[in-house]
Protein backbone atom coordinates (compact mmCIF):
# COMPACT_ATOMS: atom_id res chain seq x y z
CA UNK A 1 0.00 0.00 0.00
CA UNK A 2 1.57 3.27 -1.09
CA UNK A 3 1.35 6.52 0.87
CA UNK A 4 -0.49 8.24 -1.97
CA UNK A 5 -3.25 5.62 -1.89
CA UNK A 6 -3.59 6.10 1.87
CA UNK A 7 -3.88 9.86 1.55
CA UNK A 8 -6.56 9.44 -1.10
CA UNK A 9 -8.47 7.14 1.25
CA UNK A 10 -8.11 9.80 3.91
CA UNK A 11 -9.51 12.44 1.56
CA UNK A 12 -12.65 10.32 1.11
CA UNK A 13 -12.87 9.71 4.86
CA UNK A 14 -12.67 13.47 5.42
CA UNK A 15 -15.48 14.17 2.96
CA UNK A 16 -17.60 11.48 4.57
CA UNK A 17 -16.94 12.97 8.02
CA UNK A 18 -17.95 16.44 6.81
CA UNK A 19 -21.20 15.13 5.28
CA UNK A 20 -22.19 13.35 8.49
CA UNK A 21 -21.28 16.36 10.57
CA UNK A 22 -23.57 18.69 8.63
CA UNK A 23 -26.41 16.15 8.70
CA UNK A 24 -26.35 15.74 12.48
CA UNK A 25 -26.98 18.54 14.92
CA UNK A 26 -24.35 18.56 17.63
CA UNK A 27 -25.72 18.48 21.17
CA UNK A 28 -23.03 19.86 23.46
CA UNK A 29 -19.38 19.01 22.81
CA UNK A 30 -18.21 15.83 24.53
CA UNK A 31 -14.68 15.36 25.76
CA UNK A 32 -13.15 12.07 26.92
CA UNK A 33 -9.83 12.14 28.76
CA UNK A 34 -7.86 8.96 29.46
CA UNK A 35 -5.21 8.87 32.20
CA UNK A 36 -1.99 7.75 30.52
CA UNK A 37 0.60 7.90 33.29
CA UNK A 38 2.79 4.85 33.93
CA UNK A 39 0.23 3.68 36.50
CA UNK A 40 -2.65 4.05 34.03
CA UNK A 41 -0.86 2.31 31.18
CA UNK A 42 0.23 -0.58 33.41
CA UNK A 43 -3.38 -0.96 34.60
CA UNK A 44 -4.79 -1.10 31.06
CA UNK A 45 -5.35 2.51 29.92
CA UNK A 46 -4.45 1.71 26.32
CA UNK A 47 -7.13 -1.00 26.21
CA UNK A 48 -9.65 1.52 27.57
CA UNK A 49 -8.53 4.06 24.96
CA UNK A 50 -8.72 1.42 22.23
CA UNK A 51 -12.24 0.47 23.28
CA UNK A 52 -13.32 4.15 23.30
CA UNK A 53 -11.95 4.69 19.78
CA UNK A 54 -13.50 1.43 18.51
CA UNK A 55 -16.90 2.41 19.92
CA UNK A 56 -16.70 5.88 18.31
CA UNK A 57 -15.87 4.11 15.06
CA UNK A 58 -18.44 1.28 15.20
CA UNK A 59 -21.31 3.46 16.45
CA UNK A 60 -20.38 6.40 14.19
CA UNK A 61 -20.34 8.94 17.01
CA UNK A 62 -19.46 12.40 15.72
CA UNK A 63 -17.93 15.38 17.45
CA UNK A 64 -16.16 13.68 20.37
CA UNK A 65 -12.81 15.03 21.54
CA UNK A 66 -10.49 12.34 22.92
CA UNK A 67 -7.38 13.38 24.79
CA UNK A 68 -5.01 12.05 27.42
CA UNK A 69 -3.51 13.21 30.68
CA UNK A 70 -0.73 12.03 32.99
CA UNK A 71 -1.01 10.55 36.48
CA UNK A 72 -3.60 12.43 38.56
CA UNK A 73 -2.60 10.80 41.86
CA UNK A 74 -5.28 8.11 42.02
CA UNK A 75 -3.04 5.30 40.78
CA UNK A 76 -4.99 2.58 42.61
CA UNK A 77 -8.14 3.57 40.68
CA UNK A 78 -6.51 3.35 37.24
CA UNK A 79 -7.40 3.09 34.41
CA UNK A 80 -9.16 6.43 34.88
CA UNK A 81 -11.42 8.00 32.28
CA UNK A 82 -12.91 11.49 32.61
CA UNK A 83 -15.94 12.71 30.68
CA UNK A 84 -17.00 16.32 30.20
CA UNK A 85 -20.26 17.07 28.38
CA UNK A 86 -20.67 20.70 27.37
CA UNK A 87 -20.74 22.92 30.45
CA UNK A 88 -21.49 20.07 32.89
CA UNK A 89 -18.98 19.26 35.64
CA UNK A 90 -16.35 16.63 34.92
CA UNK A 91 -17.24 13.02 35.79
CA UNK A 92 -14.34 10.73 36.77
CA UNK A 93 -14.55 6.98 36.25
CA UNK A 94 -12.20 4.44 37.83
CA UNK A 95 -11.07 0.90 37.03
CA UNK A 96 -12.30 1.30 33.49
CA UNK A 97 -12.09 -2.01 31.62
CA UNK A 98 -12.67 -2.07 27.83
CA UNK A 99 -16.31 -3.08 28.47
CA UNK A 100 -16.89 -0.28 30.95
CA UNK A 101 -15.22 2.15 28.51
CA UNK A 102 -17.68 1.09 25.82
CA UNK A 103 -20.57 1.57 28.25
CA UNK A 104 -19.32 5.05 29.20
CA UNK A 105 -19.26 6.08 25.54
CA UNK A 106 -22.69 4.62 24.75
CA UNK A 107 -24.47 5.80 27.91
CA UNK A 108 -22.72 8.95 29.07
CA UNK A 109 -21.25 10.46 25.90
CA UNK A 110 -24.17 9.58 23.60
CA UNK A 111 -27.21 9.59 25.93
CA UNK A 112 -25.79 11.90 28.63
CA UNK A 113 -26.61 9.30 31.31
CA UNK A 114 -23.83 8.94 33.88
CA UNK A 115 -22.69 5.32 34.47
CA UNK A 116 -23.07 5.61 38.27
CA UNK A 117 -21.53 2.23 39.24
CA UNK A 118 -18.07 3.24 38.08
CA UNK A 119 -17.90 6.90 39.13
CA UNK A 120 -15.13 7.89 41.55
CA UNK A 121 -16.59 10.42 44.04
CA UNK A 122 -14.30 13.46 43.83
Amino acid sequence: MSTIKSLEDLKHAREEALKKKSAKATSGAAQIIVGMGTCGIAAGARDAMKSILETIESDSINGVIVSQTGCIGLCEKEPIVEVIIGEEPKVTYGKVSPDIAKKIVREHVVKHKIVQDHVIPM
Binding site: D9, L10, A13, M36, G37, I41, E57, N62
Partner: protein, 181 residues
Protein backbone atom coordinates in the same frame (compact mmCIF):
# COMPACT_ATOMS: atom_id res chain seq x y z
CA UNK B 1 4.04 -3.77 31.48
CA UNK B 2 3.38 -6.76 29.34
CA UNK B 3 4.29 -5.30 25.95
CA UNK B 4 7.12 -3.16 24.61
CA UNK B 5 4.51 -1.06 22.82
CA UNK B 6 3.04 -0.17 26.23
CA UNK B 7 6.49 1.03 27.31
CA UNK B 8 6.66 3.15 24.14
CA UNK B 9 3.34 4.72 25.07
CA UNK B 10 4.65 5.39 28.58
CA UNK B 11 7.96 6.93 27.44
CA UNK B 12 6.18 9.08 24.85
CA UNK B 13 4.08 10.43 27.73
CA UNK B 14 7.31 11.91 29.18
CA UNK B 15 7.98 13.66 25.87
CA UNK B 16 4.46 15.13 25.86
CA UNK B 17 4.90 16.26 29.48
CA UNK B 18 8.17 17.92 28.44
CA UNK B 19 6.23 20.08 26.00
CA UNK B 20 7.58 18.43 22.83
CA UNK B 21 6.04 19.51 19.51
CA UNK B 22 7.85 16.87 17.45
CA UNK B 23 8.12 13.28 18.63
CA UNK B 24 9.67 10.51 16.60
CA UNK B 25 9.30 6.87 17.60
CA UNK B 26 11.48 4.28 15.90
CA UNK B 27 11.39 0.52 16.24
CA UNK B 28 13.94 -1.70 14.54
CA UNK B 29 14.00 -5.46 14.47
CA UNK B 30 17.16 -6.97 13.03
CA UNK B 31 17.12 -10.75 12.97
CA UNK B 32 20.66 -11.03 11.54
CA UNK B 33 22.12 -9.03 14.41
CA UNK B 34 19.57 -10.52 16.83
CA UNK B 35 18.66 -7.03 17.93
CA UNK B 36 15.49 -5.18 18.80
CA UNK B 37 15.98 -1.47 19.22
CA UNK B 38 13.54 1.31 20.06
CA UNK B 39 14.05 5.03 20.32
CA UNK B 40 11.96 8.04 21.22
CA UNK B 41 13.29 11.39 20.15
CA UNK B 42 11.64 14.66 21.16
CA UNK B 43 12.20 18.40 21.03
CA UNK B 44 10.85 18.97 24.53
CA UNK B 45 12.50 21.12 27.14
CA UNK B 46 15.24 18.57 27.84
CA UNK B 47 17.12 17.86 31.05
CA UNK B 48 20.52 18.62 32.52
CA UNK B 49 22.97 15.78 33.26
CA UNK B 50 21.89 15.53 36.92
CA UNK B 51 18.20 15.14 36.12
CA UNK B 52 18.97 12.67 33.35
CA UNK B 53 20.88 10.49 35.81
CA UNK B 54 18.01 10.73 38.29
CA UNK B 55 15.27 9.65 35.90
CA UNK B 56 17.29 6.52 35.12
CA UNK B 57 17.82 5.71 38.80
CA UNK B 58 14.82 7.05 40.75
CA UNK B 59 15.98 5.82 44.15
CA UNK B 60 18.87 8.24 44.17
CA UNK B 61 16.56 11.14 44.87
CA UNK B 62 13.38 11.89 46.81
CA UNK B 63 9.90 11.60 45.32
CA UNK B 64 9.09 15.32 45.58
CA UNK B 65 11.90 16.52 43.37
CA UNK B 66 11.52 13.81 40.79
CA UNK B 67 9.49 14.69 37.70
CA UNK B 68 9.54 11.28 36.09
CA UNK B 69 8.27 8.11 37.69
CA UNK B 70 9.16 4.47 37.37
CA UNK B 71 8.57 4.08 33.64
CA UNK B 72 12.19 4.50 32.56
CA UNK B 73 13.77 2.30 35.30
CA UNK B 74 11.24 -0.45 34.51
CA UNK B 75 12.16 -0.40 30.83
CA UNK B 76 15.88 -0.27 31.66
CA UNK B 77 15.54 -3.32 33.87
CA UNK B 78 13.60 -5.19 31.18
CA UNK B 79 16.34 -4.41 28.64
CA UNK B 80 19.19 -5.41 30.94
CA UNK B 81 17.48 -8.73 31.62
CA UNK B 82 17.73 -9.38 27.87
CA UNK B 83 21.43 -8.55 27.36
CA UNK B 84 20.45 -5.04 26.32
CA UNK B 85 20.46 -1.60 27.79
CA UNK B 86 18.95 1.84 27.93
CA UNK B 87 20.56 5.21 27.34
CA UNK B 88 19.27 8.78 27.46
CA UNK B 89 20.86 11.77 25.78
CA UNK B 90 19.30 15.05 26.72
CA UNK B 91 20.08 18.70 26.37
CA UNK B 92 18.22 21.59 27.97
CA UNK B 93 16.02 23.49 25.51
CA UNK B 94 16.95 21.06 22.72
CA UNK B 95 15.27 17.78 23.55
CA UNK B 96 15.76 14.21 24.64
CA UNK B 97 16.58 10.93 22.92
CA UNK B 98 15.90 7.69 24.73
CA UNK B 99 17.33 4.53 23.18
CA UNK B 100 16.76 1.01 24.39
CA UNK B 101 17.88 -2.29 22.91
CA UNK B 102 17.27 -5.97 23.58
CA UNK B 103 18.66 -9.27 22.39
CA UNK B 104 15.73 -10.01 20.11
CA UNK B 105 15.69 -13.78 20.63
CA UNK B 106 16.09 -13.59 24.42
CA UNK B 107 13.53 -15.76 26.19
CA UNK B 108 12.59 -12.94 28.58
CA UNK B 109 12.12 -10.31 25.90
CA UNK B 110 8.61 -8.89 26.04
CA UNK B 111 6.63 -9.05 22.82
CA UNK B 112 6.29 -5.81 20.88
CA UNK B 113 2.55 -6.14 21.27
CA UNK B 114 -0.04 -3.89 19.70
CA UNK B 115 2.08 -1.19 18.03
CA UNK B 116 -0.77 0.24 15.90
CA UNK B 117 -2.90 0.86 19.04
CA UNK B 118 -0.04 2.65 20.77
CA UNK B 119 0.61 4.94 17.81
CA UNK B 120 -3.09 5.56 17.15
CA UNK B 121 -3.69 6.49 20.83
CA UNK B 122 -0.78 8.93 20.82
CA UNK B 123 -1.66 10.56 17.49
CA UNK B 124 -5.40 10.90 18.13
CA UNK B 125 -5.15 12.06 21.75
CA UNK B 126 -2.36 14.60 21.14
CA UNK B 127 -3.21 16.47 17.96
CA UNK B 128 -0.87 19.46 18.54
CA UNK B 129 2.17 17.16 18.42
CA UNK B 130 3.77 16.20 15.11
CA UNK B 131 4.23 12.43 15.24
CA UNK B 132 6.59 10.30 13.17
CA UNK B 133 6.72 6.54 13.56
CA UNK B 134 9.37 4.44 11.85
CA UNK B 135 9.28 0.68 11.92
CA UNK B 136 11.96 -1.45 10.31
CA UNK B 137 12.12 -5.23 10.17
CA UNK B 138 15.37 -6.36 8.47
CA UNK B 139 15.15 -4.85 4.98
CA UNK B 140 11.49 -3.84 5.16
CA UNK B 141 10.45 -0.51 6.54
CA UNK B 142 7.33 1.48 7.23
CA UNK B 143 7.04 5.17 8.00
CA UNK B 144 4.01 6.95 9.38
CA UNK B 145 4.19 10.74 9.43
CA UNK B 146 1.09 12.57 10.57
CA UNK B 147 2.04 15.93 8.97
CA UNK B 148 0.65 15.15 5.47
CA UNK B 149 -2.37 13.54 7.14
CA UNK B 150 -3.18 16.65 9.17
CA UNK B 151 -2.65 18.82 6.07
CA UNK B 152 -5.12 16.65 4.14
CA UNK B 153 -7.66 16.68 7.00
CA UNK B 154 -7.52 20.49 7.07
CA UNK B 155 -9.16 20.96 10.46
CA UNK B 156 -11.40 17.87 10.50
CA UNK B 157 -10.79 16.03 13.79
CA UNK B 158 -9.02 12.67 13.80
CA UNK B 159 -11.78 11.35 16.10
CA UNK B 160 -14.43 11.64 13.38
CA UNK B 161 -15.46 8.00 12.78
CA UNK B 162 -14.56 7.67 9.06
CA UNK B 163 -11.20 9.37 9.67
CA UNK B 164 -10.52 7.19 12.70
CA UNK B 165 -11.22 4.04 10.64
CA UNK B 166 -8.89 5.23 7.91
CA UNK B 167 -6.04 6.00 10.33
CA UNK B 168 -6.46 2.71 12.18
CA UNK B 169 -6.42 0.71 8.95
CA UNK B 170 -3.40 2.66 7.68
CA UNK B 171 -1.37 1.80 10.80
CA UNK B 172 -2.58 -1.79 11.09
CA UNK B 173 -1.85 -2.55 7.43
CA UNK B 174 1.51 -0.77 7.52
CA UNK B 175 2.75 -2.69 10.57
CA UNK B 176 1.32 -6.04 9.45
CA UNK B 177 2.94 -5.80 5.99
CA UNK B 178 6.36 -5.28 7.55
CA UNK B 179 5.95 -8.11 10.02
CA UNK B 180 4.91 -10.53 7.28
CA UNK B 181 7.99 -9.56 5.29
Amino acid sequence: MRELSLHLLDIAENSIAAGAMNIQISVTEDTRMDLLQMSIEDDGRGMDADTTAKVIDPFVTSRTTRKVGLGIPLLKEAAELCNGGLAIRSQKAVGTVLEVHFQRSHIDRMPLGDLPSTILSLVVANPPVHWVFNYRFDDQSYRFDDAPIKAELDGVAMTEPPVLSCLREMLETGVKEIQQG
